[in-house]
Symmetry: C2
Subunit: 333 residues, 2 copies
C-alpha cells in the first residue's frame, strides 16, 4: 500500500518531509513516496536514519499559490504535485495523496488527473473543526464548489457521512443542513430543495442547523455550498482570533490579570493544542477515484502524520466503496 | 420628534420598558411612545417618576416568534407591534421604531405597513459586530434577503455606507465584498457580478474580503447576501461561545488556572463588556420610508437606550436622504 506525499508548495517543506519520515516509521506496513527537490529532502532527512519504506522521487519544479491551477497542472509536468498525481493514477495499490500546496492546484490535479468517481457530480473538500465536546465536525463542502445544485449537496452529505463513519465508528453519523433557521421551510432556494432531498434519503438527516450551533458537537456533518462552508470555516477562525487578541489586550492592560496569566499558562497552552488544526490532519477531498488530503499550507509534521492516518482510515473504513454505494442507491430512488 | 417602541415580544419586556424610560430622561428633546400591555408597563415604571416625554399606548395583543410574520401583521391589528407601526406610518415627525420582537414580524411590518423607499429593491437588515481594534463593522445583509441579485447587493452597499458614515463620521466608509478569496475573479456568480458593480460605483470599494478578516477592523461595511451574512454573524458567535466553553473547561481542570482566573476576573469582565452586543444597540433595517431598529430578543435596557441613539444618529446624519441620493445616482449611471 502506497501513499504519495508532495513535499513542496507548503510553507515549510521540512515539516512535510519530517512528518512523512515519522509516518513511515510508525507504519512499516505502508510505503511512502515523497516527491520534491531531492537535495532539499536529503538535507532534511537525517543521513543516519535510512527508512526503507520511504522513497524519494525527484521533481525539478514546484507549483505555487501564484500559479493558475488549471494551467499549472497541464504545463508543470515536472512539478512535485503533478509527478505525485501521475504515480497515484497508475498505482492500483495506492491509498492516496497528501499535499500542503496550492488548494486550487491540488483540487484541479485530483479532478483532471485522477478523475471523478462514477456518478459523482462534484468532488467535495471536507474541513474538520474541533467542537465544544472534544470531538470534531466536518463541513462539506468547505470551498471547492460554488453555485452548487441541490443534487450536489445531497452527494456532499453522502460523502461526509461515509467519511465520518470511518473516522468516528458511528454507524450513521448525523447530518445537518446549514441554514438561517431551524424550521423546515427556512432558507434560500438551494437549501429548501436540498432539505427535501435529504429528508427523503437514507441518511441520518436531523434537519436545518444555524451557524451558531456548528461547533456544539451535536452534529457530525454540516452540509452546505462551498461558498457558505468557506464563510463558516473562516468566519469561525477569524472570530476566535479576534477574541484572543482582545483577551490579550485586556490581560496586558492590567497587572493583576498579567499575574493571573502566569498561573493559567499551562491551561491556555492545552487549550491552544486542543484547538490546533494540525491535530486533525488535513481536509479530505472525496469523490475522485482515489482520495486526496489537502493539508493546510502551514502544516507541521504532526498534520502530515495525521493525514497519513486519515488515508489509512479511509481505506479501512471502505469510504470510497460506501460513497459509490450511497450514490448508486440515491440515484435509484 | 417621536420614537415608537414596541415593548412586547422581547424576552424581557421590563428591560425594554426601563430602557425606554432611561432614554426618555436622557433625551428630553424627543417623545417616546411605548406600545404594549398598559398594566405591565405601569407595574414596571416606578410610579414616582412620571416622565412627561414618555407616553404609553395600550395594546391587547402580542406577536410572538411562533406567529407566521405575514399573517400576524395582517391579522393581529391590536398587537403592540402593529399599533406602533400604524402610528409610525401616520407620523410625519417620527424618527423611527424599535422592537425586540420577532425578526420576521418586524421586517414584514416595516415592508408592508411603512413601505419601501423609492428605487429600493429590498430593504436590508444591518448587523453590527465588535472588531479587534475597538470599533465595529456592519454586515449587510445579515439575514433579511435570500437569493439576492447583484443589484440588491449594490444597494445594500449604498445603505451600509450611508449608515456607517452617520455612525462613525467617516466621509467615505470602506466597503468589502464577502468572498472566498481576495482575488478579483474569486467567488460565485453573485459575487463576481457584484464585484463589477461595486468597482464601477462611487463607493469606497476596497475589493473582496475573506470571512476570517471580517472582524479585523480593516473594513467598515461587509456586503453579502442575507444567507451568507447570517452564517458569518452566527458562525462568529458560535465560535466565540465554543472557545469560551473550552477555555472554562481548561481553567476548571487545573487548580493553578483557577487561581489565575481570580486575578484575571476583572479583565475578563471588561472583555465581556467590550464584546456585549447590547452596547451596540440593535440592527437597523434600512430601505423603508422610515427607519426601524430590530433589537435582539434578549436585549437589556442599555440596548434600547443605544437603539434610541441610533435613530437619532440616523436622523442627524441624514441617512435616508443619503440612501435616496446614492440609489438615484447609481441608477443614473
Amino acid at each position: 500500500m502506497n501513499i504519495y506525499i508532495d513535499c513542496m508548495g507548503a510553507d515549510s517543506p521540512a515539516e512535510i518531509i519530517n512528518g512523512a519520515a515519522a509516518a513511515a516509521k510508525e507504519h512499516p506496513e505502508i510505503n511512502i513516496v515523497l516527491t520534491g527537490d531531492q537535495s532539499l529532502i536529503n538535507a532534511t532527512l537525517p543521513a543516519s536514519s535510512a527508512i526503507c519504506n520511504l522513497k524519494v522521487v525527484h521533481a525539478e519544479d514546484v507549483i505555487t499559490n501564484d500559479d493558475t491551477p488549471t494551467t499549472a497542472i497541464k504545463v508543470k509536468k515536472d512539478s512535485s504535485l503533478v509527478k505525485a498525481f501521475n504515480m497515484l493514477k497508475e498505482d492500483d495499490n495506492a491509498l492516496g495523496l497528501i499535499s500542503a500546496g496550492s488548494t486550487g492546484a491540488v483540487l484541479t490535479g485530483a479532478t483532471l488527473i485522477i478523475g471523478r468517481m462514477e456518478g459523482v457530480y462534484r468532488p467535495t473538500l471536507i474541513s474538520q473543526l474541533p467542537t465544544a465536546n472534544g470531538g470534531f465536525v466536518c463541513i462539506t463542502d468547505s470551498g471547492a464548489n460554488m453555485d452548487s445544485h441541490p443534487e450536489w449537496l445531497m452527494q456532499f452529505a453522502i460523502m461526509g457521512s461515509s467519511y465520518m463513519r470511518a473516522m468516528t465508528g458511528k454507524a450513521n453519523p448525523s447530518i445537518a443542513l446549514l441554514n438561517v433557521g431551524t424550521e423546515d421551510h427556512k432558507g434560500n432556494t438551494l437549501t429548501r430543495t436540498t432539505y427535501q432531498l435529504l429528508a427523503a434519503s437514507k441518511l441520518n438527516f436531523v434537519g436545518n442547523m444555524e451557524a451558531r450551533d456548528a461547533l456544539t458537537g451535536n452534529y457530525d456533518v454540516v452540509v452546505c455550498d462551498g461558498y457558505d462552508g468557506n464563510v463558516l470555516l473562516k468566519g469561525s477562525e477569524g472570530a476566535v482570533k479576534m477574541f484572543m487578541k482582545k483577551f490579550k489586550q485586556n490581560v496586558m492592560a492590567s497587572l493583576s490579570a498579567k499575574i493571573g496569566y502566569l498561573f493559567m499558562k499551562k491551561a491556555i497552552k492545552q487549550l491552544r493544542s486542543a484547538m490546533d488544526y494540525n491535530n486533525y490532519g488535513g481536509g479530505p477531498f472525496l469523490g475522485t477515484k482515489k482520495p486526496v488530503i489537502k493539508a493546510h499550507g502551514a502544516s507541521n509534521s504532526m498534520a502530515i502524520r495525521q493525514s497519513v492516518n486519515q488515508l489509512l482510515r479511509i481505506k479501512e473504513g471502505k469510504v470510497l466503496e460506501m460513497i459509490q454505494q450511497g450514490i448508486a442507491e440515491n440515484e435509484a430512488r
